[in-house]
Subunit: 248 residues, 2 copies
């Protein structure tokens, strides 16, 4: 075995570059040559690490969905834990993708390019989480949650809304009236994204702060002024500790 001097570095580096290129140019639009160049090695060396282009694609996708899959359950837990966590959860999700929009773009691309593959992975990884979330929603229905929400359908659409929203945020931004100066439009888009997700699920109704389920009271910080709440640490939720440390 011989303690492999750098067992990850190169493989990791390849994955990073491949992710970037697949996300930006698509799978078919990215040649092994281009990836090899980006990494700084020759094509056959690349093939040495990932026996075929398709295996590389799967590795990239796995790595990405693993991150995503470490994040989600923790957030669901936080959501279940208590009051006013809805904002925290959605904010965390959007932040996860905003931090590196290529993640979002990669998922969107894969969903289009390899639907069956993606469906299979989703049904293993995220569908269970969707189930938990749906149940949570159903429990709050008629109280904080709008009465006519279709729980499962909502969760799917919300996930899609967030991911696609981030994937195309740059494009939207450039089309916005104040899209030239780079700051404000992006913030507006993110804020509105979260608002849509929330207000389509949770009733704006009377404060019912004592509720054990998701309440609808706007989180203390006013919606207008942003104020980014910390960075890596999403409050509550002690992570299972075994959880990832990787790309975050």
């Amino acid at each position: 075995m011989a303690a492999t001097p750098h067992p990850l570095p190169m493989r990791e580096k390849i994955l990073v570059e491949a992710t970037r290129l697949f996300a930006r140019q698509g799978y078919d639009g990215t040649s092994l040559q281009a990836i090899a160049d980006a990494v700084g090695i020759k094509k056959p060396s690349l093939i040495h690490h990932f026996a075929s282009k398709d295996l590389l694609r799967q590795a990239v996708l796995d790595a990405q969905l693993t991150h995503w899959n470490e994040l989600l359950p923790r957030l669901v837990l936080a959501a279940a834990a208590g009051e006013d966590q809805f904002d925290a959860v959605t904010r965390e999700i959007v932040r996860f993708f905003s931090k590196d929009p290529d993640r979002a773009r990669l998922l969107v691309r894969e969903a289009l390019d390899h639907p069956e593959d993606m469906q299979e992975r989703f049904s293993r990884l995220v569908v269970p989480v969707v189930g938990s979330l749906a149940q949570l929603i159903r429990r709050g229905r008629g109280k904080a949650v709008h009465a006519d929400v279709d729980a499962e359908a909502y969760v799917f659409h919300a996930i899609n809304l967030f991911i696609s929203g981030v994937a195309f945020a740059d494009s939207f931004q450039r089309l916005m009236p104040d899209g030239k100066k780079r700051g404000p439009a992006a913030e507006r888009l993110t804020r509105e994204l979260l608002r849509i997700g929330k207000s389509s699920l949770i009733q704006p109704g009377p404060r019912r702060s004592a509720e054990p389920t998701w309440s609808s009271t706007a989180s203390p910080d006013s919606p207008a002024t942003g104020k980014r709440p910390a960075r890596g640490k999403h409050r509550v939720s002690r992570a299972p500790k075994s959880a990832a440390r990787e790309t975050e």
Copy 2:
């Protein structure tokens, strides 16, 4: 000139097949050979009609956005016209893409593959409409419309929600608990899609049917059927009668 015996048929046929293939496999994933095969001609014949692959792509995109651009202004007009039109408008949009989800998938793909190109087309075609819609929303804000909506941002996200929602509807459907039998899940998804779009914009509040702006009461049914208006120029404008008959 010689009255060209069938000036459109073949060109049209190529556009149809190219649209289908681009939407399903992407631009890079579709070879000219594949398109030629689908049409039933040889590759050089294809090149005879569209001098290059990129020109074909642009033609496909133009054709698609033209349809879209014929629909939108009419809907904005309907929305502006009066009460209870919000449901009709969104329903019409979703129906437009649901009728042929490849349209949605093509737009999503193009937005990823050629963002600058897409931005340019959007800023010419849909941004003006977005402006009208945003103004309409602002006018209703605080009344039927939620007070904290960011009008432009909402419109972009809503368009994205609808288009992406349709593009991935099939995948979602198959992941839904009752996704096996094909009917109900699809309906649930569509209904929820519309509900999200609406309830995130319009207050569920007390019936205020007399309002001149968008009310929240569900419209009886009849969407703004028929009566095609206008071609290149959005807003109002009676159709020049030469208008397209194409893929619709």
